[in-house]
């Protein structure tokens, strides 16, 4: 298999060097010294550039524009085959990445929206059930228990009654469908 056909393998040293040459050419330098002649080499070069992290959509467009104008490959002018390769192999990976990015942004947006909504919901609704107020006998038992020498048992007995009411109220809220 021609190495330019396997687009998922990592770029080798030669391709990386070619990508560097292309990068220089795209920067307006050393277009002549790029020395690109064979269609295969152009394809490999483009592939390596497409795999590099620096190939943004704008850069891809610049590659295509220069090749389309016939001045990107040291004046040799790429043939129709090369143009087709470039068209699919420069643009397609970028388009795929852009597609992935769009979905990643979508997923990130979903997560962020959900987090914000859940935060707002928790802040506004996580105060718990409105509990029944303590009755006077419980409060009196509390006041008596809050002194030295007093026993805590009367308060415990009053709390048993209040506890029942509290748990019933909280359980009723928890069982409600949200």
């Amino acid at each position: 298999m021609n190495r330019s056909d396997d687009w998922n393998r990592p770029a080798d040293d030669e391709e990386r060097a070619a990508a560097e040459r292309l990068a220089k050419a795209l920067d307006g330098r050393a277009v002549e010294s790029a020395g690109i002649e064979a269609e295969l080499e152009v394809a490999a070069l483009v592939r390596a550039a497409a795999m590099s992290a620096e190939l943004t959509r704008e850069r891809s467009d610049a590659v295509w524009a220069r090749i389309a104008e016939g001045d990107a490959v040291a004046g040799a002018g790429p043939g129709a085959g090369v143009r087709a390769v470039v068209a699919t192999r420069v643009r397609a990976p970028v388009a795929r990445r852009r597609g992935v990015h769009r979905w990643l942004w979508g997923a990130a947006g979903a997560a962020a929206t959900a987090a914000v909504v859940m935060l707002v919901t928790s802040v506004t609704t996580d105060r718990g059930t409105k509990l029944p107020p303590p009755n006077v006998s419980l409060v009196k038992a509390q006041a008596q228990a809050a002194s030295r020498g007093a026993g805590i048992s009367p308060l415990g007995r009053e709390m048993r009654v209040y506890r029942e009411r509290m748990l019933v109220a909280i359980s009723a809220t928890a069982e409600e469908p949200r």
């Binding site: 769009r102 979508g106 609704t125 709390m159 748990l167």
Partner: protein, 161 residues
């Protein structure tokens, strides 16, 4: 125009909501049922004078609380009350250090002007008295009485129940 990312965002939000509300609600209900059962079991154990069983039941209740997601306010109320009950049992068993520990743990959940905070402060005060810590006892009783005063005002304003 409705874009795919927008649809993904909407879908993700719906999924997050369904994941957040369903199991959480069921968990909360399950834990609260456990709490009701634990208190009843503790009552029954105390009725047959089995303090250790009552104590163990409530220790189990507070020990499992972390595993269940429920409304913060509700969990706080149930746990603070359980800690008060544990402190009360420890005091009855003349185990003041344990009473101090349970009441302090309960108050760590956040003291407020409510029945639960006042109860825990009272239990803490009694534990401090038993331990000979007069300053802590006075402070705890004072704070409890301040809350109690506010509760009394509310109770007197409420129609009789």
């Amino acid at each position: 125009m409705i874009t795919r990312p927008f649809c993904a965002a909407v879908l993700g939000t719906l999924v997050a909501f369904s994941c957040a509300s369903g199991p959480r609600s069921r968990e909360a209900a399950a834990w609260l049922r456990d709490a009701v059962r634990a208190h009843r079991a503790a009552d029954e154990a105390l009725a047959r004078r089995d303090r250790e069983a009552a104590y163990a039941t409530l220790v189990g209740l507070v020990g499992t609380a972390e595993r269940f997601a429920t409304e913060r306010g509700d969990k706080r109320a149930v746990l603070m009350d359980a800690y008060f009950r544990l402190a009360e049992m420890a005091l009855a068993a003349k185990n003041a250090p344990a009473a101090l520990l349970w009441s302090s743990r309960g108050l760590k959940l956040g003291a407020a002007n409510d029945v639960f905070s006042a109860n825990l402060l009272i239990a803490k005060g009694h534990a401090a008295v038993a331990l000979g810590d007069d300053a802590l006892a006075s402070e705890s009783f004072h704070r409890a009485l301040v809350i109690n005063d506010a509760l009394l005002a509310v109770a007197l304003a409420e129609p009789a129940q």
